[in-house]
Amino acid sequence: MEDGARLMERVRARDVDAFERLYDGYHRLVFGIALRIASDAALAEDVTQSIFLTLWSTPEAFRDGNFAAWLSRVARNRTLDALRSRANRPTDDIPADLPAEGSTEAFAFARIDAQRVRGALSELTDEQRTPIELGFFGGITHEEIARRTGIPLGTIKTRIRAGLRRLRASLSEAVSR
């Protein structure tokens, strides 16, 4: 797959060919995330198109780091937006993101691919992986995760942090190999 960050530089210069390559390389990721969250292929298609149009119209939204990881977060948030909009629920349910200050972390993980992330996730205990996946793909709050799993909120918070830290350690090790 071509490097997304480089393609985005060309998209900024209004290069249609780069945009086409970007679509070829990354639409499966965006569609996959939207489908996993929404379980609705038509909505996933709408979200995918809307995101790629946004990439074209405001390419400066991506600054640097791991393009696929950034795009994953965009796909997640946009799908949750679409679901809430469809349910006619106020969209300010969605937590706004505090932008990361330094991109050192994003750079460190710039070459991480899906296979490595799957491997690292599989190394987590079920107790750690479940709340993390529910949170990312379920688009629910930690309180809702606690309610659904029947586990106290404090325990859920601790497991999310421990799981993310372990995931990071595992991925950092993979990067340094």
Partner: protein
């Protein structure tokens, strides 16, 4: 002493924020902690970059017809966006103009036919339009609220924001905007609130600003209504519930702007 336990709880909160599972009510608390506490900032940066990678595991094949359909629509839109930027060649101008006129004429005919066909449905259409207008107004309100929150969070984390360390946290300015990001504020006596004050450039007396009370952890994030570019200093003091016209207690801090 609960300090280490409170610290761990704070970092757990930051991790939940990095994953994107915090309810909005806890947002300000997490954001203020991240801004005021370097350890919380580091934790957030590390775990957010990690959390963003989780989505990579969801990639899956898209059936070829759907993939081609999306691509065709997108490329049509993108090419249409690029096309007007190119200077038209003189030889094709007239045919392009003719094509445009033809398309416009077809649109008018289509619209006329539609109007005639839908004449009997006009009242339903008006009802639907009224509902659309109401929904649009509600959506606009929601969108403005989100925009406000996003602007605030973007300002707080922006590299070009000015940050002034004060007792219990940080005063942040960016452009015209001023924010107080405070953590571990002392609990207030009954019937008291914290009140912010601003001193306009050239003025000799403080102007009363908002009153606020921190959450149980002593954390709060307060946007001030003053224009930072016209403000010489901000201060916070403890005042009677409802606020005062002039500070009645020694300020918790006074921060001049450079």
């Amino acid at each position: 002493m609960n300090e280490p336990r409170d610290r761990e709880a704070l970092l757990d909160l930051v991790a939940a924020y990095a994953l994107g599972v915090l309810p909005p009510a806890e947002h300000a608390h997490a954001a203020a902690a991240i801004l005021a506490d370097p350890d919380a900032r580091r934790e957030y940066d590390e775990l957010r970059a990690t959390a963003n990678l989780i989505g990579l595991t969801a990639e899956e094949p898209v059936d070829s017809a759907r993939s081609a359909r999306m691509k065709e629509r997108l490329l049509s839109a993108v090419r249409a966006d690029v096309a007007p930027r190119r200077a038209p060649a003189s030889g094709v101008r007239s045919s392009a103009l003719f094509g445009t006129m033809l398309a416009a004429a077809a649109a008018v005919v289509f619209a006329l036919i539609s109007v005639i066909q839908n004449f009997g449905l006009r009242s339903d259409l008006h009802d639907a339009q009224r509902r659309v207008v109401a929904l649009q107004a509600a959506a606009d309100t929601d969108r403005h609220a989100i925009e406000r929150d996003r602007t605030m969070l973007a300002d707080l984390a922006a590299g070009d924001a000015k940050r002034y360390a004060v007792a219990y946290g940080t005063v942040v300015t960016r452009g015209a905007n001023v924010y107080l990001a405070l953590a571990a504020l002392p609990p207030l006596p009954r019937g008291k609130v914290y009140q912010a004050w601003t001193l306009a450039r050239g003025a000799t007396a403080m102007t009363p600003s908002v009153t606020f009370a921190p959450n149980q952890a002593g954390t709060t994030l307060v946007p001030l209504a003053a224009d930072a570019r016209a403000t010489a200093a901000v201060a916070v003091s403890v005042e009677p519930d409802g606020g005062s016209r002039q500070p009645t207690t020694k300020p918790t801090f006074v921060q001049p702007f450079g």
